[in-house]
């Protein structure tokens, strides 16, 4: 008995000890299993659950015009994707998504049924759509942030800016050319997460490397100028029922392009709705025969070589001139014309004779010097070099035809760049389209400098050519319709038959009408080329394109601080008294000279008058009026009684009586 009872106690103790021991072994073994054997795996699992990596969508830089207006911007939008394996109720999911996304039912069904674990349903949806989808809480349907490119000005400058595809890669224009700069790198945002999935920012939340990820591109395009040029060109193309058109505006001193327009337009927000031919920036990618526009460069060559003076006379064969197997015609019959008149009335025969006198090698030298036959290296994709053959391959009549712009193909940008060289005193500039590149903070990284390619002609020669071109816009010239009110313009009309690509030779009824010029002649602010492709009814550049030039110049020049004659200029400074006195003495001398003339107007006495009355008295006399101060008039120049002429400067100083 005794033995038994001891055994019972011992046995129980032993059993309990065994159980406890086994328990320890089990715990130990489990610990060993978790901490040693499965360590790597579990660590991975834990960090997967505790850390989230939110991939940030790569940002893309903005494209601005030179005034800082946005031309292309990126915004984050949601894209819907599905994990078809996690969808519970297919029918409900389909009928939930279809009305929101306005998609075809069958199409949605097909996508949701696919076997993969990732299927796009719809990419880049609107904010409202994504909120509606979030509210549905459909299992297996997810949203992902993506970048969408947006062009707030729609069609404006679309050919320059270009557009991007679905995957944020630039496909055309600046978007294509500057794709690598504009595109940022995708970055990842690390965050810790608790058991409920809430984010905790424990340590450095944002990527520590603060390097720049994307660049912004600022163009030389001016939205204001671009808008005016687009509106006027579009209006003219529609008016003449033309096939298309283009216009380029350039600042001649720097080569900066202020506007570049190709018609027909397209909206880059929906670029897929347009034929791909419409996307092409024809102003730089299409070469055409310039016709009479090219006589400008013939004139520059002839004068620079001192072969021909503006006053030299040529016999224009009464409108029909036979050269080898070809006959050159003029629109109007002319006998003897001076070189100045040849340019003014745009005589082909006269131009041929000047070209013959110059000779083909010299002509070719200037054609290439002005940049024809080579790319201007503007930073836009798809530039054409045009067609300029070496004189070795010229036919015997080529020197005649090239003199009036046939048998040579040039691009719009080449013409504008070359004319800018005439406008700025002989320097061929590289056309600039990008003004600067900035980083994401807006700091400038790189500024485009005006870059001279070569000096083509001397300043004196450029002046003489400008004077010849001014002639075409005077009475009886071909470009009469191109003069904006109150400005002096130098320019040239052009009408060229189009080359028939199927039959060869020239098409009978298809023309390109153009006008190019610059204003004001003395201090050119803008060089402008207008080309209308296949106008109906009439085809003369002077009728079709010159009024477009005029309308654009009238709207744009005041904006570029070149005011028409007779504008009232009010100076809002008070430290003008010095200047006033100087002007006063000078105008006294001028008075004496002017007095000889008759029928001129006298400067009224404005002393003591309030500004409004004083201005109304001298308005309409064509004076350039400069005003300072406020109150009543205390000083005026010219003095009362002085003879005044249209375009004279007039200074008025006002002071309040107190």
């Amino acid at each position: 008995m005794k033995k038994k009872s001891i055994n019972w106690l011992k046995l129980r103790m032993f059993i309990i000890a065994c159980v406890l021991f086994l328990g320890f072994i089990l715990v130990g073994a489990r610990m060993f299993q978790l901490q040693v054997l499965q360590k790597e795996e579990l660590y991975k699992l834990a960090s997967q659950q505790q850390h989230v990596q939110i991939p940030l969508v790569p940002k893309r830089g903005t494209i601005y015009d030179r005034q800082g207006n946005e031309l292309a911007v990126s915004i984050e939008v949601d894209s819907v994707y599905a994990d078809p394996r996690k969808i519970k109720d297919l029918g409900k999911t389909v009928s939930g998504l279809t009305p929101i996304l306005q998609m075809d039912r069958e199409e949605v069904k097909r996508r949701l049924k696919s076997g993969s674990s990732f299927e796009w349903v719809q990419r880049k949806i609107s904010l409202r759509e994504s909120e509606q989808i979030k509210a549905l809480r459909l299992p297996g349907i997810y949203l992902m942030k993506e970048n969408k490119r947006f062009y707030p000005n729609a069609q404006m400058a679309a050919h320059v800016v270009g557009f991007v595809g679905l995957d944020s890669r630039g496909l055309e224009g600046i978007e294509f050319q500057y794709d690598t700069s504009l595109n940022g790198k995708g970055e990842v945002w690390n965050m810790n997460r608790d058991a409920l999935g809430r984010g905790i920012a424990m340590d450095e939340p944002l990527p520590s490397k603060q390097e720049e990820h994307y660049r912004n591109v600022v163009l030389t395009i001016d939205k204001q100028v671009q808008y005016v040029v687009e509106t006027e060109l579009g209006r003219a193309v529609q008016k003449w029922g033309a096939k298309g058109g283009m216009a380029i505006a350039m600042e001649p001193s720097t080569g900066k392009i202020l506007a570049i327009v190709t018609y027909p337009f397209f909206n880059p927000n929906q670029f897929l709705q347009y034929r791909s031919g419409v996307w092409r920036n024809r102003a730089i990618s299409d070469a055409f025969e310039p016709g009479s526009l090219f006589k400008v460069f013939l004139a520059a060559a002839a004068i620079d070589e001192q072969m021909v003076k503006p006053s030299d006379a040529f016999y224009c064969e009464n409108g029909s001139y036979k050269v080898y197997d070809r006959t050159v015609h003029d629109v109007h019959k002319h006998g003897w014309l001076t070189f100045r008149q040849i340019i003014k009335v745009s005589s082909n025969i006269g131009a041929s004779k000047v070209g013959e006198k110059l000779g083909k090698d010299r002509l070719f030298k200037y054609v290439t010097a002005f940049g024809f036959g080579e790319k201007t290296k503007i930073s836009l994709p798809g530039e054409s070099r045009g067609i300029v053959h070496h004189p070795r391959y010229w036919s015997p009549v080529a020197v005649d035809t090239i003199s009036f712009g046939q048998g040579i193909s040039v691009t719009g940008i080449q013409l504008v760049t070359a004319l800018s060289a005439i406008a700025n005193g002989g320097s061929l500039m590289k056309p600039l389209i990008v003004e600067r590149v900035t980083n994401e903070k807006g700091e400038t990284l790189q500024v485009s400098q005006a870059e001279m390619v070569r000096k083509v002609v001397s300043q004196g020669v450029a002046r003489q050519v400008a004077a010849l071109l001014k002639g075409t816009t005077e009475k009886g010239g071909t470009g009469e319709g191109a003069i904006p009110a109150g400005y002096e313009v130098a320019g040239k009309t052009g009408t060229a038959q189009k080359v028939d690509s199927q039959l060869g030779g020239y098409a009978e009824d298809r023309y390109v009408s153009g006008f190019m010029g610059f204003a004001p002649v003395q201090d050119p602010r803008m060089v402008l080329l207008v080309v209308i492709d296949e106008p109906q009814g009439t085809n003369y550049g002077g009728v079709v394109a010159a009024p477009v030039f005029k309308a654009i110049m009238e709207n744009v020049l005041p904006y570029l601080h070149a005011h028409p004659k007779g504008t009232v200029i009010v100076k809002n400074e008070t430290d003008l008294s010095m200047e006033l006195e100087q002007v006063g003495t000078r105008s006294f001398v001028e008075d004496l000279q002017v007095r000889k003339g008759t029928g001129r107007e006298m400067m009224p006495d404005l002393a003591g008058l309030p500004m409004r009355v004083a201005l109304s008295q001298i308005e309409g006399k064509g004076l350039i009026i400069k005003v300072s101060g406020t109150g009543r008039l205390v000083e005026q120049a010219p003095r009362a009684g002085a003879i005044i002429e249209k375009g004279d400067l007039c200074y008025l100083k006002f002071q309040s009586p107190s």
Binding site: N69, E70, V73, S74, I75, E76, L127, F150, P152, N153, A154, M156, M191, N192, R198, G199, I200, A201, M202, P205, L206, K223, Q224, Y227, T231, A485, G486, P558, H563, P564, G566, T567, V568, I569, V570, K571, N572, E573, E619, G620, K626
Partner: protein, 80 residues
């Protein structure tokens, strides 16, 4: 007795500070999220402004709704 009290207090303080750190972590991540969504909103509004600023629209509103017209050259006074 005093050292024990000190030990307990400092332990409590340590725990409290850890809790604070975690709390603030939540707040920071919330604020960051909010910041991101505000930045996105800002961008969207910028674009809306840019769209509304398009010259075609402004001209249309000025001419059609407000009855404005382009000034003639002699109606212009330039202020320098």
């Amino acid at each position: 007795m005093l050292p024990l009290l000190f030990f307990i207090l400092s332990a409590l303080f340590f725990v409290w500070s850890r809790i604070q750190v975690i709390q603030l972590g939540y707040e920071i991540s919330k604020a960051l999220k909010e910041g991101r969504s505000l930045a996105a909103m800002n961008k969207r509004l910028t674009i809306e402004v840019a769209t509304l600023k398009s010259y075609g629209r402004i001209e249309k509103v000025a001419v059609e709704e407000l009855g404005m017209s382009k000034p003639k050259p002699d109606q212009v006074v330039v202020i320098r």
